[in-house]
Symmetry: D2
Subunit: 438 residues, 4 copies
């Protein structure tokens, strides 16, 4: 069995891994690196070809792919795992496997990458099913909790043993929406024996268990239920985080404000969620995706009385083309008023461009009189104690940390060492383009 | 009305304020500055006289006191508000007013400061009562939530208007134990008119509402309920924080471990709490205050099976003479075993000595095989949005920020400016030894 | 005597102070706040009117001006002291006084702010001259060292005593270029008695003497003399810092590379410096200001052999329209080659936009193969020990810290307190729009 | 050829490496980890045996040693390279090779570790000599610059090629005292071919050339020459850093103060330096090593007039038993006076205990009225550009980074990758106890 690092082993982002058994191989995840899009401001993902995107470090470098690819497997619906799939997959005339919500998100990507012809190759797989993807490789998704619904571990059953790809996850037993992690299946797999674990390392330095989404829910309730009743209230969060949006909708109901979702990606993620029955929004909710529709409702809110609305908008990282930044730039017939409350239900993803964008956004909002509210967030990534727990359950023979820069990978390695693993023996640090043979 | 800054206006700690009306005055709080005790390692508070303690910056400098003191008022039971009272008050033959739990804590201080003769001058006052402390000054405690029970705002009713001393507090509507803040009374006072607000500034830079103690409770439950069943489990937290201890006791019950409270101050605070009926501990709980008793039970736990116990110990800041540090130093017949879990339900109070003490403690524990768990904490201090809320409720004519260094005080000033106050007009930055005349 | 804070008392940037004696007043400095230009990306200083620029926080708010203005005095040529002068001064039909290099820079501003009609009102004054600017106010510039030539303290001689405005300076006895500080005159003024000192607070937190420019020179020599001989070498620094440019030119000579200055402001500052005889550039030096000229020479260098040149370019903060950013964006017929060396002789001015711009610039350069070299810089602002020295020399009766946010001002206040001053008595913290009466 | 990591590959400190050729091996460096001594406050290096010191993480774990040890080689005289040698070497009845100053320091260690019998095995070797230490291994020291005199690279000439151990160094062409790096020999070795480079990684993250010691000298001159003439002046720095002490002595002469060196290690390092003719101290200099002598001279200085002296004392890290801490604790008949100047010519070595010790020291000094002066320092370790230069000169076939935690080692790996090396192929990250076979 060979594990080939394509992307995400030198950096946080653009995840892509190849697993090869004999000469058959599968690719797991095809993500993008968003901060590289911010660095190259002229990047247009819909029109640029994949070679240019590889060159800019936005796409993983698929020239590293070595085997005869039999399948593409997507672990969950975040862009750093799925964003490159509609550009890349037409090269590979193979099925694309994903859990139902993820599968729908891949198909929906088609709209924005017009050339994508692979929609019919997308196969929706329920967690628990076992699918033969090639003579030597069977695929199983194991349900886990994360900051998006239908996240999964990817288990590959091969003649050389079971490989588990655990990227990304948290252990959340009160996830607000959706199923909890399938602990029983993880324990079974652990008892049967796991040959290799490929594991995210993003938050392994945090010596804690990652708090439940229910904590974010309570923070939202405690804080927003005391919001100033006479002023505007805007909350911004991840469009793909339906659990979080569920809580915000519930707060809106409690405090008697009409929820309004604004932005193209807000419409996309919640629309697919509703279609699959994953979230049911209150009747009072309205959703505006197109720029024209957003402009219309904001004009209405501005004139009718903002105190009756709770606006849920894109733009938590200060993205320059998101709704919140455009509000701050006064691009709509909507004015931030003195004491309007703008709540960030998301932390700054730590890179200098996000910090600058957020600072610019917050400064503009403050100049116009807004009050900024922060802290309404919990992470979606496992922390050190969660990782320890997973290692005890799976007890893998080999470990390959992924999804991080060398510091994150090294920190995971130190945890593994403390639990008896040894570097270069059963614990492997590899870089994009390198492989481990097990 | 004059407000005279005695201590806590140049620093975080040793709070002491004099309020003078005519030539009558009252003193509010008499605290110590704990990090100065750490700097002067040879400081012995029980034997040193108050002049030396002033000189070392541990005690506030009461030579700044100007009026004829009619009463001493203690807002709550933390050492940075109460620690100097047993040394200082014998100078002033006046009553010492405090809420019931605080009053008992003052009396209990007598044991450790043997010379203290003022116990009989301590007057326990219920929140809501109004007491005449001098011809021109009436005292009222208003119940607020904080990280200790029976915390209060001090309201002084004078011919020149009402002064409110709000140091320390948070707004917590699910405080686990004890009453919530008396919002009704605050609103009444606001409507009647508040001449001056003296207000803590510790966390005004945090743009949030401070999370409820209920969040800490859920974090404790989620994390400790997944603790390794076969290993030891030690939790360390603030001895005076009975709400937190309540939650830890409840987790112990849930996971079937016998709770054991260790340390002199653990015994003091919980004992007084039980005596006043503020906390009822499960029958399985045992409390060991003296060094001998602690040594005995630890020896038993070591031999009998640590997996049956949940140890609640002093030492969250790595204090060198606390139980947890002494365990790490192997001073007891108790050995930290591989995978024993040590959970910190407290953040490091930010100064270099605490950081070093914690680092030393954690390193020693790790060398012996312990797993460190952090993040099980929420603050007891109001954040920016809480402060904004309070200003809207009280709408004070004048503001004097306290309990902070110049950065904290200045940050409060910037908040007040954003709400219409003006520096040196109705917003006053003063330093220890200075006064404001209103 | 009244000191009225117009700008720079709430922030770092947009310095402007009014000093009023009777009903006569003078304005000292009229600067802009550059990071507000970065926040409002659509800001165009040449076309926007001053009201809009005030609203955006780029210009100081001159509605705070109270007296009958008799003169405008500019302390030195940096944009945060001089940038607003060509927009603002046409309102005031009064002379604009400045030292010679500063005076020329003001006149040169005319080119870029076409409406400026005040060029003929600019009066060049030598340090040491005493000029009567109104019946009650005489002006004197005292030469000091700073990161621009002809920097000065502004001394106002009035019937109520001498006021000294010390914003900005450092004490540098080996300044590479230009005169050292006129210590003798400062001592004289101190002995005669200084009524009030208005003093910058930017680096008062640094417990040191600010290193001499000669240190930067040696760092440049040690580092660049070991540059890879076969690769390109680009140095970026402050265009206005002729001392620094002098050193870079001298290194170029030493290592046998032809120096090329690129960028509009490089041309402006060095051109005026040469015209006044302040700097004499080696004959091999060439200067290209216009975009077309820059494009031409870069194309030549690219084809002829970059190893023969030392490029000195604008763009040390990653400014998006500066030469270095445009090189990184491949806007010229010039390609960064593998191992080309890009040396930053400037620190990041600490705000999130600069950090992001620098990060973007450095990342793009690295992707193209460049080596980044940092650390070739010393500050131009006085540190704590320099401030202490100045206070001992001048021994002012009153102190008003300026040029900083509340933290910087407060830190200066703490220094002054340690030397015997008392807040609100002879030490005054004021905010934009407020005044001190002395 | 095998490189076996004994110590310093998981951490900064306790350097020890074994190099094995056939079954012969040599050990390079035997250092201690000083922060572990601070953690275990009861550690007494003179009385504890080496097993206990290994267990505490103070000594490297020499159970990892695999070959038949033929020689011990010490690269330079710092404790993290030499501190364990007097405890460890009696196990190995083999010669101990070192450059002259280092050799004398090893012999001097005997005094404080009384059991040391190996003094007669210490062999002083001049840089440039080639010594046969076993049939297959020849040893050569190559002179390099560092923050101690007689630092060296260790070159091992073997049948399998040349190995170079480069730990620690900087490239300083104006080192104030002592020889510069032998660049010619490094180039020769590079041209002959280097099989393997073992290389320190401490400062590889800094994108600069490390400044010359001459910069520290100028900072000292600029700052101390403006010291207040009427007050005391204490400078603290590394006792082993004779180049730095040379500069301080020269400043003392310039400003007419008598230099006084205080502290046991001040006496040791300067004494050996004088004996070997490496430093010649001015006649006015006096040196006091014993506590009694120090107490005597401090009493004299206190009474006679401190303004005539420049005290050079141990204690730059706030070590609790060093002279400066004891002065701050008032253990001598010497009082810090108002405005006495205490200059730190050393940065805080970054760990929490040093930060706390320094904070405690500075706070005590400030309370007593002292002015603290910082910034008078440059590092002794190579930065990124120096490392790049070395790689170009030596062009080694294999690289093994050492002297750092995983982050530092990983950062070096990233530099090496940017220059064409590949992880796990010709670039090796190993941990204490692991080996690389080349």
């Amino acid at each position: 069995m060979e594990i080939i690092a394509i992307g995400g082993y030198n950096e946080f982002g653009r995840n892509m891994t190849e697993v090869k058994v004999g000469d058959e191989s599968v690719i797991i995840d095809m993500g993008i690196k968003l901060d590289r899009v911010l660095i190259h401001e002229d990047s247009d993902l819909s029109t640029m070809d994949s070679d240019e995107l590889v060159k800019r470090g936005i796409f993983p470098d698929d020239r590293f792919v070595q085997g005869r690819v039999k399948a593409i497997i997507i672990s969950h619906g975040h862009l750093d795992h799925l964003g490159a799939v509609t550009k890349f997959t037409d090269k590979y005339d193979v099925p694309i496997y994903a859990t139902p919500y993820t599968a729908e998100l891949i198909k929906a990507e088609k709209r924005y990458n017009r050339g994508f012809k692979g929609g019919e190759r997308v196969v929706s797989v329920q967690p628990g099913e076992i699918i033969e993807v090639s003579p030597n490789i069977k695929l199983e998704f194991v349900a886990v909790t994360h900051s998006i619904l239908h996240a999964s571990f990817v288990a590959l059953h091969t003649p050389e043993g079971v490989l588990i790809y655990a990227n990304d996850f948290k252990f959340d037993d009160t996830p607000v929406l959706g199923e909890t992690t399938d602990y029983d299946r993880l324990m079974e797999l652990g008892q049967e024996g796991v040959k290799c674990l490929i594991i995210e390392s993003t938050r392994v330095m945090e010596e804690e268990r990652t708090p439940s989404e229910d904590i974010a829910r309570k923070l939202l309730f405690d804080t927003l239920s005391k919001a100033d009743e006479d002023s505007g209230l805007i909350v911004t969060t991840f469009s793909s985080h339906l659990q979080r949006i569920r809580s915000i909708l519930d707060v809106a109901e409690l405090i008697g404000r009409r929820p309004v979702l604004l932005g193209r990606s807000m419409a996309k993620y919640s629309g697919i969620g509703e279609k699959l029955g994953l979230i049911k929004m209150p009747k009072t909710t309205s959703v505006y995706g197109s720029q024209k529709a957003v402009a219309g409702i904001l004009k209405n809110i501005n004139s009718e009385g903002r105190e009756n609305y709770l606006i849920i908008a894109t733009g938590h990282q200060g993205e320059q083309d998101a709704i919140l930044s455009r509000i701050a730039n006064r691009e709509f017939d909507f004015r931030i008023g003195k004491d309007d409350q703008v709540a960030f239900s998301a932390n700054v993803i730590p890179n200098p461009m996000n910090r600058a964008n957020r600072y610019v956004l917050e400064t503009k909002l403050r100049i116009q009189g807004a009050r900024i509210i922060k802290g309404l967030h919990v992470s979606g990534h496992a922390a050190r104690e969660d990782h320890r727990y997973l290692l005890r359950v799976l007890n893998p023979e080999n470990i390959v940390p992924c999804h991080g820069d060398l510091l994150m990978l090294s920190s995971y390695a130190e945890l593994a060492e403390s639990m008896g693993y040894e570097l270069n023996k059963d614990l492997h640090l590899i870089r994009n383009g390198q492989k481990v043979v097990i």
